[in-house]
Subunit: 346 residues, 2 copies
C-alpha cells in the first residue's frame, strides 16, 4: 500500500520518457530558465509532462529554494463579517501571483496570535498578512524584526514600522460627525470600540476632534468604551449610556465604533422604548453585510474591505520580490452611506 501522498510522476519520470536529464526537464518547465533550452526539447518535455500529468512537488522545490510560495493571513475571527472580504481580496491577488494562502484565526487572543504566527513560520510561509494586530502587540513587533515580510491590514501596531493598509478612520468618523452635525444634532454620544485596538482609538480620537471642528462640545459622560467590538458589548455600553443620562442630558445621536455596537444600541433602545431615528439617531461603522436590512436600515461608514486585502497583498508581493523596500502606509478612502437610522433631532 502506497503511503498517503506517494503519487504523481516526478521530474525523473518525465526525463526518462523524453530521454533527457532531469535537470533539463527542470529548466524546460521553469519559465525563467526555459530560454536556455532547445525549443524542440522544451516542446517534447512539455508534452511528456502533460502525458504523465506531472505536477512539481512544492516540498522538494521549497526544500531547495527555501521558499514555500505560501503567505499566511491572520485574522482575529473569520466569523466576523468584516474579515472574510479582506481575506478574499488578498487571496485573489496572491493566488493570481501563484501564491497559496494559509488562513489563521486568533479568536482575538494575543496568545493565540503568537501560536498561529509560530505555526505559520514553522510552515515556512514566505510572508505574513496580519489583520489581528493590537496596539501593544509585542508578538508582531518582534515578528517584524524577522527576515520575513509582514504587512498589517485594518489595524496598526503602535510605534512599529510595519507596512500597513487601513481604512481612513479619521476621515470616516469625521463624515459621521459632520452628517449628524448637519442634521442639527449637538448632543452626540460616541460608543467607542476597544481602545487597545487602533481602529477603536483612531475613531475615538477623530470623534473628539471632529466635534470640536464643528463647534460642538464633547460631554465626557457621552463617550463610553465598549469592551469588545460585539453586539453584546455595544448593548452593555448603550445601556450604561442611557442609565447615566436623563431626559435633558441624553444624547440625540450616537456615533458607534462599529456596526455591531450599533446593533447592540438598537437592541437597548428597543427595550427602553426609544425610537430610531425619531428619538435618537445612530451611525455605525464598516457597512457590514445586511445592515441595510435592519430596522431602520443603518446609516454607516463603508470601508472597502476587499480593497484593503488586495492592497495588502500587493504590498506583500512587492516585498517578496524585493521590488519594494520602503515601509508603505496606505490609507484607503471610506464613504458615508446614509440610510434610515439618522434624522434631525426633534
Amino acid at each position: 500500500m502506497r503511503p498517503p501522498g506517494a503519487r504523481g510522476a516526478t521530474l525523473k519520470d518525465v526525463a526518462d520518457r523524453v530521454g533527457v536529464h532531469p535537470g533539463t526537464v527542470s529548466r524546460a518547465l521553469n519559465p525563467a530558465t526555459q530560454g536556455m533550452v532547445n525549443p524542440d526539447t522544451v516542446r517534447k518535455v512539455q508534452r511528456a509532462a502533460k502525458e504523465l500529468a506531472y505536477r512539481p512537488n512544492p516540498m522538494a522545490r521549497g526544500l531547495k529554494t527555501s521558499r514555500s510560495m505560501t503567505v499566511g493571513i491572520i485574522v482575529p475571527d473569520i466569523t466576523n463579517p468584516l474579515f472574510p472580504p479582506i481575506v478574499k481580496g488578498a487571496e485573489a491577488v496572491l493566488t493570481e501571483a501563484g501564491y497559496t494562502c494559509l488562513i489563521g484565526n486568533t479568536d482575538n487572543d494575543i496568545h493565540r496570535e503568537r501560536d498561529v504566527l509560530e505555526a505559520f513560520i514553522g510552515r515556512q510561509v514566505d510572508g505574513l498578512i496580519v489583520a489581528s494586530a493590537q496596539l501593544e502587540d509585542e508578538v508582531l513587533r518582534h515578528a517584524a524584526d524577522g527576515d520575513r515580510p509582514l504587512v498589517l491590514v485594518n489595524r496598526r501596531v503602535e510605534g512599529a514600522r510595519i507596512p500597513l493598509v487601513v481604512g481612513d478612520d479619521a476621515g470616516g468618523m469625521e463624515m459621521a460627525v459632520r452628517h449628524l452635525a448637519e442634521l442639527g444634532h449637538t448632543r452626540i454620544a460616541h460608543l467607542a470600540g476597544p481602545q487597545f485596538l487602533s481602529t477603536g482609538r483612531a475613531r475615538a480620537r477623530a470623534f473628539r476632534q471632529s466635534m470640536h471642528e464643528f463647534g460642538l462640545t464633547v460631554d465626557p459622560s457621552l463617550v463610553l468604551e465598549c469592551a469588545t467590538y460585539s453586539v453584546e458589548a455595544g448593548a452593555a455600553a448603550a445601556a450604561a449610556l442611557f442609565e447615566a443620562t436623563d431626559a435633558a442630558s441624553a444624547p440625540t445621536a450616537i456615533a458607534c465604533g462599529n456596526d455591531q455596537i450599533a446593533i447592540g444600541t438598537y437592541d437597548v433602545m428597543r427595550e427602553r422604548g426609544l425610537r430610531c431615528p425619531e428619538d435618537v439617531s445612530v451611525v455605525g461603522y464598516n457597512d457590514m453585510p445586511y445592515v441595510d436590512k435592519l430596522a431602520p436600515p443603518l446609516t454607516t461608514i463603508r470601508v472597502p474591505h476587499p480593497l484593503l486585502g488586495a492592497e495588502a497583498a500587493r504590498i506583500m508581493l512587492r516585498l517578496l520580490t524585493g521590488e519594494d523596500t520602503a515601509t508603505s502606509v496606505i490609507s484607503l478612502p471610506v464613504e458615508l452611506v446614509v440610510r434610515g437610522s439618522t434624522a434631525p433631532p426633534r
Copy 2:
C-alpha cells in the same frame, strides 16, 4: 542584521551541539520513536533543541514522508456567513491534531472548484474537505477516486460514495412546515434554493412531502426555484410569486430555501405593502448571524454549522490515520427557532 536563529537551526545543528548523530536527534524528538533512545540523550537533545529554538522543517519532513500535515478546505464563498463557522469548526479540530488548513474559494463556480482542487493537490494536501459540492459534480466524483481522503460537508454529490456531514434538511423543512401548519396556514409557498445543489433539492422534496404529511395540498404555482441562494434571487422569486397570484390565490406563508431568500422576500413584501407576519408569514433556513435583528426577527431553522465542520474534520482525521475505512454519512439535527416572522393567518 539577522537575529541569531532567524535562519533556523537544523537537526544537524542540534546534533552537533549534543554531540550525537542527526538520526538520533530525529528519533529523540519524534514522540513515536522516542522510546528507542536513551532517556538521558532524549533530555539533552530536547534541551539543545530548545536552546537553539529548533523547529522542524515541514518541507524536508514532507519530502521524506510524503505527507504535508495539511488539509484543504474548499468553500463556495467565504463571504457567505454560512461558511466561516463551518471552516472554524473544522479548523479547530484539525489544528488540535497538528494539521494546518488551506482554505479555498470557488465563488460557486465549478471550474474554479477544479482549479482550487488542483492547486491543493499540487500543494500535497493530505486530505480535502469540500463544502462547495454540486449535485452533478464530476470534478469531485473524480477526485473521490484519488488516493486522498475527501469529505463533503453541508452539500452532497449525487451517486458518489463520499463521506459526508450535513444538516438534516428533511427534518428541518418538516419542522418549518409543521410550524406553519400548526399556526393554521394552508396556502404555503416554497421559494426553493437552486435545484443543482443538494440542499435546495432536499429541502424542496421535504417541503412537498411534509405538506402531504400534514394534509395540505401543494399548489405548483406556489413553488418557485431561486437561481442562487442570494437575496437578489430570493427577491426575484418572491416578486414572481406575488405577480402570479391574486388576493385569493396568494400564499399566507412562505417557507424559504435559506435565510438570504427570506431577506429578499422581506424586501419584496415591503415594496408591495405586505406586512410580515400579519399578511404573510416567512420562515428562513440556516439561522445565519443577525437574522434575529431583522424586522421582524426571522423565524428559521438553525443548522449547527460549527459542528458540521468539526464532524467533517473528525472523519477526515480518522480517514487520515486509516482508522476508518467506511464511508460515513452523518446527518446532524437542526432546530426550529421561532421569532417574529410567523403568526396565524388572518
